[in-house]
């Protein structure tokens, strides 16, 4: 009998953590005219997956029990013909299979430092998500909201990194999201402005871009098992150019409402092949998700 997916993942994840060194910057990276290490271009994201130990089963994707489970399909696309998930083979080009850290790297045992009452609360919340008890229990990512943090593995949606003297800008194919990371030393926004994507301020430490993000609105998820992060969320991300085709990525997630201490997830971005461009992904315009779940709302 084959080992379960989860067992294999734990073994592999443990192997990855011990095998791979932490990011060491490529000090010969080309520079932009204003002296930033140049990370511009199209990339796919890999491995930034917050799969925690002793995670509850999630009702949206009860893999193995539900034929509609996205986990039952290698392309992650759920109940569509497989070809719809194969765009990733084009996006990743030759950049698969790097020996890099991926997933939760701190704590090493992947048991997230939940406040016990918050862990209980989210486990109960999950039980009311399929069918969703009300709008508040609909998976946030299913509402075509701005995604908040980088989540899960995404085979179909690349990222475009652009740089200006005072900003790094990331354009996401997914839901035409854009993130401006200000490098001009400005302060964070006042506390009464809350954003799905937060307010990102960055600076270069050598060849690592350090990004500090606050002002989240508490309406973003982290994974299928972590259906919401709070508005106390504060993240620190490290983007390190490690070679001509790879940016190492690590995020420290601090959410004192939910967790007793910060935790870290790692992954990496790899360059997409030359001919890949950003494409429009018009999420809300084509989404029938809420109508599929609840029926058509009454006329206003």
């Amino acid at each position: 009998m084959l080992p379960s997916n989860r067992f294999l993942l734990r073994m592999a994840a443990a192997a990855i953590v011990t095998l791979a060194p932490a990011a060491s910057a490529w000090s010969a990276a080309p520079r932009t005219p204003d002296g930033q290490p140049d990370l511009q271009g199209m990339y796919t994201r890999n491995g930034v997956v917050g799969l925690e130990a002793n995670a509850p089963e999630n009702p949206i994707d009860p893999s193995g029990k539900n034929p509609l489970s996205v986990s039952n399909r290698g392309d992650g696309l759920g109940p569509y013909p497989k070809i719809f998930g194969e765009g990733g083979t084009v996006l990743r080009g030759g950049q698969r299979g790097q020996q890099r850290r991926a997933g939760i790297v701190d704590p090493p045992d992947k048991k997230l430092p939940w406040r016990p009452e918050q862990d209980a609360k989210r486990r109960d919340f999950l039980l009311h998500m399929n069918p969703p008890a009300d709008l508040g229990h609909v998976e946030l990512n299913a509402r075509c909201t701005l995604p908040g943090l980088f989540q899960g593995e995404d085979n179909n949606n690349p990222y475009q990194f652009l740089q200006r003297p005072q900003e790094v800008v990331i354009l996401y194919d997914y839901n035409h999201t854009s993130r401006v990371i200000h490098l001009d030393g400005r302060p964070h926004l006042g506390k009464n402005i809350r954003l799905f994507m937060g307010d990102s301020l960055g600076h270069w430490e050598g060849d690592t871009l350090l990004v500090d993000t606050t002002n989240f609105n508490g309406k973003t998820a982290y994974s299928r098992e972590i259906p919401y992060l709070s508005d106390a969320l504060h993240t620190v991300e490290r983007f390190t150019i490690v070679d001509a085709n790879t940016i190492d990525y690590e995020i420290t997630i601090e959410d004192p409402t939910l967790f007793t201490k910060p935790w870290k997830v790692a992954g990496y971005f790899t360059r997409a092949p030359k001919d890949i461009e950003s494409l429009e992904f018009a999420c809300a315009e084509g989404s029938q998700t809420l109508v599929n779940m609840f029926g058509k709302p009454p006329e206003r």
Binding site: T32, V169, L171, R186, F294, P297
Partner: protein
């Protein structure tokens, strides 16, 4: 799912030649920053009087006439009458298309690099990525709300050629519309460091008898530490429309 171990080649790219001069805007006018239109074209691109909820405005259409084919002029009148529900941007917060995104009453940010110009709009976080590499419009793209844009410099003017639209967007709340044959050519000219003259030529042989043109100034937002925020009206509408869900 674990893939088997494999040997792969890790190839380091060549170091760039020393002494390659690059400037951040490559000697072109600097359009970087946050901009906003200050007119009422979002309500009606033509001359219009005020009414409750609609500020009055001098139009942005050259000659103030939109050359509809006869069937399309009737359709425009229908649209105007039903705009509260029929305008996908007003009623559903869907992306406004081009050029309407430029003159929605929200700021937008131009991020200008030599290879790509990106425009991020605060309204519904609409986004355009404009390759500046001379590449043609790709063949066979799915229809898009914001079009496929290809940019080039003509002297000091950024010219953007946009096609590949669907037929779902309007030019304003007054029902001015187009088909999926829409073709827009935008021109962004810096008239001084804080003003852009924005012109857009609109062509759609299925709807109009000839091309027509709009133009307007765009004003640099000079507020200290300004950043694009989020106007996520799709989310706000969901909160309103589905607040008593489930319905069965």
């Amino acid at each position: 799912m674990i893939r088997a171990a494999a040997v792969s080649l890790l190839c380091l790219a060549a170091l760039p030649a020393a002494g390659q001069a690059r400037s951040s805007t490559a000697g072109k006018p600097d359009l970087n920053g946050i901009w906003q239109a200050l007119n009422t074209a979002a309500w009606d691109v033509q001359d219009h009087s005020g009414q409750l909820g609609v500020p009055p405005g001098q139009g942005v259409v050259e000659g103030n006439e939109i050359p509809y084919q006869p069937w399309a002029a009737a359709k425009k009148r229908e649209n105007f009458a039903s705009h509260r529900t029929a305008d996908q941007t007003e009623s559903n917060c869907f992306m406004p298309g081009v050029p309407r995104a430029t003159y929605m009453p929200f700021p937008f940010e131009i991020v200008q690099t030599p290879k790509t110009v990106a425009i991020a709009y605060e309204f519904a976080h609409a986004l355009r990525s404009i390759p500046m590499d001379g590449s043609p419009h790709p063949d066979g793209l799915p229809d898009t709300w914001m079009g496929d844009s290809r940019g080039r410099w003509e002297g000091d003017t950024l010219v953007v050629d946009v096609k590949n639209f669907n037929d779902q967007t309007w030019f304003d709340r007054a029902g001015n519309f187009h088909s999926d044959a829409l073709h827009v050519v935008e021109r962004y000219s810096l008239t001084d460091p804080d003003h852009i003259l924005y012109e857009a030529t609109i062509e759609d042989p299925k709807v109009f008898t000839r091309p027509w043109k709009i133009s307007m100034p765009l004003y640099r937002r000079v507020d200290k530490n300004l950043k694009l925020l989020e106007y996520e009206c799709v989310f706000y509408l969901q909160e309103e429309r589905f607040k008593n869900a489930p319905f069965k």
